[in-house]
Structure formats: C-alpha cells, structure tokens
C-alpha cells in the first residue's frame, strides 16, 4: 500500500514523509483519539490526510504498536498480541493515602512510638486499616513493647522503608533546620518546636523490651506454636 498512490494525487515522497511524521507525532501526544479533520488542519497543504493515515497504519501494521481507527479518529494502541507483556504486573500501584503518609512519617521520626503517641501527635484516631496498609507495604514493623503500664507495642520502620525512600539510614531524615531550609516547614513555629532524631532500627530504647514469641502470639500475628514469617 502507499506504493500505488502516485496516480491519484501526485505527492512528493519527501512531503508525504513529513506529513506522516506530523500525523504520527500528533496522534502519539494526544490524550485521546485524534480526528482526521484535526490532523488535516496541521498537514502541509495539498496532502490528503487519509492517504497519510493509511501510510502510517501500514507502517505500524506488524509492529508492537498499531495505529487504529475509531470511527473518524485515530489512536495508537499496543498490538493485541502484546497484551501479555503489558499486563504481566497486575499489581496496580496504589497511592498511599494522606493519613497513611502522616502515620508513616510519625513512625519514622518518632520511633519507637506507640499507637497512643501517634494519635497524640496527629490529634486524631488512627484507623486500624492505616497501620495495616503500612505493615502490608512492608515499611512498618512492630519493634517491641514499651515498659509502661499496659506494655503497649512500639512501632518502627523497616529496611524496606529505607530502600523505598532512598535513605541510607534513619539519620538521613532531614532535621528541623533542613525542613525549614527547604521551605517544607515555615518559619512560623514556636521556638520550643522540635523534631526528634529517630532511634536506629536495631537499637532498643531504654524503656523498650524486644518482642517475644509470646507477644507475637498474643497479638495474633503468630499462630500459637508457629513460626514467625520473617
């Protein structure tokens, strides 16, 4: 195809090629199918848009991406037989909710921190789902228990957390001056405002006990007598 077009409209091959390039770029960059009329307006004068589109369609016919016509509009679509490569990772990426980000950041900076403390800092109750999401993401873990009434569980971040956020160690989290310096924190904060220096992952706080097998069972994270999954 495209070879027997010299007779209908006599088109200079260079001009035709240029027109194909334009149509190609237009359809590629567009957020939706592009109408022939829209493309025609942008082609060099005297070039037939359908001729150009036929050329382009032929060009892409056997490739990984095809030009498809939808009524009078055009769009690129990956070739139908390519769906297996495109669909392999079904795990859609979920955006982390604002609430989860807040909780995560509190855990990162204030660890070891208990749930009550997180709520105290946020001034709002934390839904169980939020912590679950963070645990599921593999960013947050149970660190131990606070040696205080009720022996509440303390939370901390994981190695995966550091990896994901491109930190080498927890101490790389920016401090007060740096948050101010980058403008993330405005200058209008009380003088007694502080940002804690997080305690490293493996160090237990003075008032913190490590989690025991029994704790894990109690928390329902381990079936009695079973083995921790990590």
């Amino acid at each position: 195809m495209g070879a027997n077009t010299e007779n209908a409209t006599v088109v200079d091959p260079r001009r035709l090629y240029e027109a194909t390039r334009i149509a190609e770029a237009l359809v590629f960059a567009s957020a939706g199918p592009v109408s022939s009329a829209y493309i025609a307006e942008r082609l060099p004068r005297g070039v037939d848009v359908l001729h150009v589109m036929r050329e382009l369609k032929a060009f892409y016919a056997g490739r990984g991406v095809n030009l498809v016509q939808i009524e009078d509009s055009w769009a690129f679509r990956t070739a139908p037989d390519m769906s297996f490569v495109i669909r392999t990772d079904e795990t859609e990426v979920r955006k982390v909710s604002r609430a989860a980000l807040e909780v995560l950041s509190i855990i990162a900076y204030h660890q070891p921190v208990t749930r009550a403390e997180i709520e105290d800092i946020r001034g709002v109750q934390t839904s169980k789902g939020t912590l679950d999401v963070l645990m599921e993401a593999g960013w947050v873990r149970l660190r131990g228990r606070r040696r205080s009434p009720g022996r509440p569980v303390t939370f901390g971040t994981t190695r995966d957390f550091l990896d994901h956020f491109g930190l080498e160690e927890l101490r790389d989290l920016p401090g007060l001056d740096e948050l101010k310096g980058t403008g993330l924190l405005s200058g209008r904060i009380p003088s007694n405002f502080q940002i804690p220096m997080p305690l490293g992952e493996d160090e237990l706080a003075e008032d913190e006990d490590p989690l025991t097998q029994l704790d894990l069972e109690e928390l329902g994270l381990l079936t009695p007598g079973g083995k921790a999954d990590e």
Binding site: A29, T78, V93, K95, V96, E102, I106, R122, A137, L184
Partner: protein, 287 residues
C-alpha cells in the same frame, strides 16, 4: 525594596518570597539606568547579583574587570540609594563595608608584617565568585532553552501502562513523606503571633556582622567601625546602630576576641583582632 515599597531592611525574603515574584517577569524591569543611576534594588537578588550587574556594565571579561572600579561603583550605588532613603537589606550593607575595606587594602601598600590576605587576593576571590555566579546563570539559561518535555517534546498522551519496578505495590516518594510530616507538625504547632521585625539594630545584628568581619582582619589597627557605621546604618537608624555596634564591640573585647583603641574623644575607634579571636570564643569572665 523600592523607595515606595514597604520593605524593612532585615525583613529580607519572607514567606511570600517577593523577590521570586519579581524574577518571574523577566529581567526587563530590573536595575539601574546608567546615566541617572536610578536606584531600584527590587530586581536584584542580593549584593553579588548587583555586583555582577555592575561588572557587566564594565563590558569586559570578568577576569579582567577592575575590582577597584567595581567597588567604587557599588559604593556609589549604595550611597545614592541611601541618599534617597531607600531601605537596604543588611546583605547589601555588609557587602558595602567589605568593599570599602577591600578598597582601602588595594590602595594602601602592603606592609611587611602583614600576613592576612592581600587586597589583590581579596579582589581575585571576588572576581572568582562573580565569574562562578555568571557561569551558573549562563548554564541556567542554556538549560531552560533546551527542548523541554511538555513544551517542545511530548510524551505519550494516552499511556496504557505504568510499569512498576518497585517491589512494593505502594507508591510514595520521600518528598510526599516529608511534606506530610511537615504540614502535620505545622498544623499542630501552636500558631504564635509573629512580631513585626524591628527596624533597629539589635545587639545580635551588630555582633553578627562584626564577627563576620573580624575574621578578615589581621593584627593591624583598622577603623572598622568607620566602615561599619558608614554602610551598615541608615541615617535614620544611626543612633541605634552606633549603640549596638559599640555595645557589640565592647562585648567582643571583653571576650578577648577584639582589641579596641581610640586616640581621643570623637576620634575614630580602631579595632584589631584580639588574642582569642583565633581560638574561638573565650571565657565569659568580665573585665
């Protein structure tokens, strides 16, 4: 910072970053018109920027500019600005004092026992800094004029697929995390009434500036306060500046970081580096 604009000296760049706004509408409105030397500091981002602009008007290679002439121009500029009572940020005045000092070093022959940097060395480092800033400016221009994504070059408008490369099924960046934390903490921090910045020179201001300059002085007696007072205070603020600078000087003397000499009443006060200047802050016991 224009004569009409209500910016106070050390208010500088506030949260609303007025300087940034001004930069946005191109360089056309900025600056000084050579003949009348109409002073408008609004377009300048700090003293180095102003110096660079002045250097460019010398129309020579930055490596060959006359630093002395440049210093003169700067000082003239500052003098005029003050004459028509334009409020100047402290940065500009500190630079003026430094340049006045540089000028004196360039004009007075070097003494044998002098081990501080020579006027020529100071001039060279200033030229280097100007050159470096200009290089970065040029680079920025080149960068912004490249084919930019979304302006000259376009991505697939109808993506069908977002490849995930992270093992995690959750997406968040460090920036997201820090933003969440900072705004959370900000929200819960008790909002305090911000007190309008004073237009007097506090002890801290003067002291800070003195300390910045002290390191640059060797063992010669220098009438530093002369430079300081000439440039670091608006005529309107003169009294408070004298008071603060003098009080700060006394404090530094007490700490042994500075020595002080005055030959007579109303004579210039000479300063030189104290014995403890090099060792950092000394004892607090008074004298």
């Amino acid at each position: 910072m224009q004569a009409t604009g209500g910016k106070t000296p050390r208010k500088g760049r506030g949260a609303d970053a007025p300087m940034d706004d001004l930069w946005q509408d191109d360089a056309s409105g900025r600056g000084l018109h050579e003949e009348s030397l109409v002073v408008d500091l609004a377009g300048f981002e700090g003293p180095l920027d102003l110096l660079l602009h002045l250097a460019r008007t010398q129309k020579v290679d930055l490596t060959r500019i006359s630093v002395l002439a440049l210093a003169e121009q700067y000082l003239v500029f500052i003098d005029r600005a003050r004459k028509i009572r334009i409020e100047l940020a402290a940065d500009y005045l500190v630079m003026a004092a430094w340049l006045a000092y540089l000028k004196s070093r360039l004009l007075i022959p070097r003494q044998a026992k002098d081990d501080g940097p020579s006027g020529e060395e100071m001039a060279a480092s200033l030229a280097f800094r100007l050159k470096r800033l200009e290089a970065m400016r040029d680079a920025a221009t080149k960068l912004v004029n490249r084919n930019r994504l979304g302006r000259d070059v376009f991505a697939r408008g109808m993506p069908e697929h977002i490849p995930t490369e992270r093992r995690s099924a959750f997406e968040a960046s460090l920036y997201d995390l820090l933003t969440a934390y900072a705004s959370l903490r900000q929200r819960h921090a008790i909002t305090q009434v911000t007190i309008e910045k004073r237009s007097v020179w506090s002890l801290a201001d003067a002291r800070e500036i003195l300390q910045l300059l002290v390191g640059d002085f060797d063992d010669d007696w220098t009438a530093l306060d002369h430079f300081m007072l000439r440039y670091l205070s608006d005529p309107a603020e003169r009294t408070t500046a004298i008071a603060s600078a003098f009080a700060a000087t006394l404090e530094l003397v007490r700490e042994g970081r500075l020595e002080l000499r005055q030959d007579g009443v109303f004579q210039p006060i000479y300063l030189r580096r104290g014995q403890k200047a090099a060792e950092g802050s000394g004892g607090e016991e008074g004298g």
